[in-house]
């Protein structure tokens, strides 16, 4: 697989803020790569560095084998879908989509023909003459996509493109985006703070925290084998337990709530904790239990059944030893640890 993007010890400092702090990664051609993290984690700055909208203060950016750190945006074979779509309000949909061809001097009939094709690709045929202000959020998003794809870039950057859409539309667009990326074979770099979005669409995900990559893995790898407490908590939810495991030693362990079994009463067995049931949340197909164990809170998520456990009762939590994941001691986040 050829390398599309190669970042080598990349840094970007704004005043006293190290927005991107020594990031190194490689993205292969045709890959759907996500940058996931809370706001202020450096994921958007990292994307803007690849797009050429920020100048790195250190490190290298190599795009398709070419050093790109100093190239202006218009000299890169990269296009961007902006978070606010950045459509040109004084142009209609067709002119917006044809913009990249217009500035390159493509003849009017040719560029309108190709812009029309792009609009069909994103299912907006018939809206050519509308102004951006006359479109819904979802339609604007599609125009931004068509406009960014008309040059057939080798790399498309997407900065939280679905952030402004409602949940239903967002799920539809996730499926469409993924299908589009597969059929066009373009490398997508996708920035999001929504972990379920990143998991469901991506080939690989880089989890950002404080300007650094906390973990870079496949969605399954991130969820099943979180390396740090931050990743365990940010990707899905996790109980972080502190203790000693015979096979793995002393330290912190992540335990996914759905791997925890809950039974009434106090019943000693291996890998268990006894606590008091604090709260029950019925979620439809699943039920979430909040249990207090020696002052700490542990969450269990089970398939809903007819038996209702009374709040305040004594319960036993148990799990398979193989469900515990040993976490690395060092983490970027100065976060309070919930210990058991």
């Amino acid at each position: 697989m050829q390398t599309a993007v190669q970042l080598n010890n990349l840094s970007c400092v704004f005043g006293s803020v190290r927005a991107v702090d020594g990031v190194s990664l490689e993205i292969g051609t045709g890959e759907f790569f996500s940058m996931l993290g809370p706001s202020g984690s450096g994921k958007t700055t990292c994307l803007r560095l690849i797009g050429g909208f920020e100048v790195p203060t250190g490190g290298y950016i190599v795009l398709f084998g070419q050093d790109a750190a100093k190239l202006p945006p218009y000299a890169r074979d990269v296009n961007t879908v902006f978070q606010d779509y950045a459509l040109f309000p004084h142009m209609n949909v067709l002119d917006n989509v044809a913009y990249a061809l217009m500035v390159r001097g493509v003849a009017r009939s040719e560029r309108y023909r190709r812009a029309g094709e792009m609009l069909e690709l994103v299912k907006l045929a018939g809206l050519e003459k509308r102004r951006p202000a006359q479109l819904s959020g979802g339609q604007r998003q599609r125009v931004a996509l068509a406009r960014a794809l008309i040059n057939r870039p080798k790399l498309l950057l997407l900065d939280e493109p679905l952030g402004a859409l409602d949940l239903k539309l967002r799920e539809e667009m996730q499926i469409e985006l993924k299908a589009l990326q597969r059929s066009l074979g373009i490398t997508f770099v996708y920035v999001t703070h929504d972990q379920s979005e990143a998991l469901s669409m991506s080939d690989r995900v880089a989890v950002f925290n404080y300007g650094k990559i906390e973990q870079l893995d496949t969605p399954k790898g991130l969820y099943e084998y979180p390396r740090t407490e931050f990743v365990a908590r940010f990707v899905g939810s996790a109980n972080v337990l502190e203790g000693r495991l015979i096979s793995q030693g002393v330290g912190q362990f992540a335990l996914r709530p759905e791997r925890v079994r809950i039974t009434v009463g106090s019943e000693p067995k291996a890998n268990h904790l006894v606590g008091r049931l604090l709260d029950v949340h019925y979620l439809g197909s699943q039920t979430r239990y909040e249990v207090e164990v020696e002052g700490a809170r542990v969450t269990a998520l089970t398939t809903s059944d007819a038996t209702a456990l009374p709040i305040g009762s004594t319960v036993t939590l148990s799990w398979d030893a193989a469900s515990l994941r040993r976490l690395e001691d060092t983490t970027n986040s100065p976060r309070q640890k919930a210990s058991v």
Partner: protein, 269 residues
């Protein structure tokens, strides 16, 4: 809730409108009077002869032409400099930005007499003779501000990602300015330019200090008012100027109304 405003409110409103427009009617009426020294009412007779006399006055045409040229050049300078400064203030943060912004918009807040004296001293200091260009420089100091204010307000409403998107799609700086920035600020430029032109056209105080022996139209008016004869000539010229300035005002209204269609349809390469 009453649909009709009270009598007192209506009377006040009408009084306000009369107060604003009555002087214009006076000027209109006394452009036709046969009496050339006083504003005697009712006018003893009506005549059109002042129009002939006014339009035959070479000094009036000279003053009018000078004013038009000064206003046009000062507006042009203001459009270029005002837009550039607005762009810089919008895009960049630097040390002393607030001070520079303040000193930049100061000429419009400062009494004209201060600007006038300061300019005159500076002009003498660098050894320039008061001329057409010194008037233009004087007027440009406050014309730039009106353009700047209009354009910077428009920039603030525009998201910077549009400019980034344009560059991202392959447009260089010049293309981005022409196809994205300019259409967005076009109506602001028009409004700022109109205001600049109007300010320059009737400016008296700064002009008095920077004009030397040249007479712009407002200064010509002042001179005429102190002459005892041919009073109605000034009224005729005032009506003429009012009529002429109406054209760009109406035009700009039309342009800003249809601005959407104006720079939307059919892009040209």
């Amino acid at each position: 809730m009453t649909a009709k405003p009270s009598l007192a409110l209506r009377a006040t409103a009408i009084a306000g409108i009369v107060f604003l427009h009555f002087p214009l009617l006076v000027i209109l009426l006394y452009a036709f009077t046969t009496e050339d020294r006083t504003y005697q009412f009712p006018p003893p007779g009506l005549t059109l002869k002042w129009f002939g006399i006014a339009f035959a006055r070479a000094d009036m045409w000279d003053a009018l032409w000078l004013s038009v040229r000064v206003a046009a050049v000062a507006t042009l300078v203001a459009l270029v400099l005002g837009t550039m400064v607005a762009g810089a203030m919008y895009r960049f943060n630097f040390l002393g930005k607030d001070v520079i912004t303040l000193s930049f918009i100061l000429p419009i807040a400062l009494p004209g007499i201060l600007t006038g004296i300061a300019l005159l001293t500076s002009i003498k200091r660098v050894g320039l003779e008061p001329s057409f260009w010194t008037i233009v420089i004087g007027h440009a100091t406050f014309c730039v501000v009106t353009v700047y204010n209009n354009v910077v307000a428009r920039f603030r409403r525009m998201s910077y990602s549009q400019i980034e998107a344009s560059m991202d799609l392959g447009a260089d700086w010049f293309q981005t300015f022409r196809h994205v920035v300019l259409p967005s600020v076009a109506t602001a430029l028009l409004a700022g330019g109109m205001l600049a032109f109007a300010l320059s056209f009737d400016e008296v105080i700064v002009t008095t200090f920077t004009a030397g022996s040249d007479k712009t139209l407002p200064i010509w008016f002042l001179g005429e008012l102190f002459k005892p004869r041919e009073r109605p000539v000034t009224n005729v010229v005032a009506i003429f100027v009012t009529a002429v300035t109406f054209v760009p005002i109406l035009l700009s209204q039309r342009l800003t109304q249809s601005a959407e269609d104006l720079h939307g349809g059919g892009k040209t390469t």
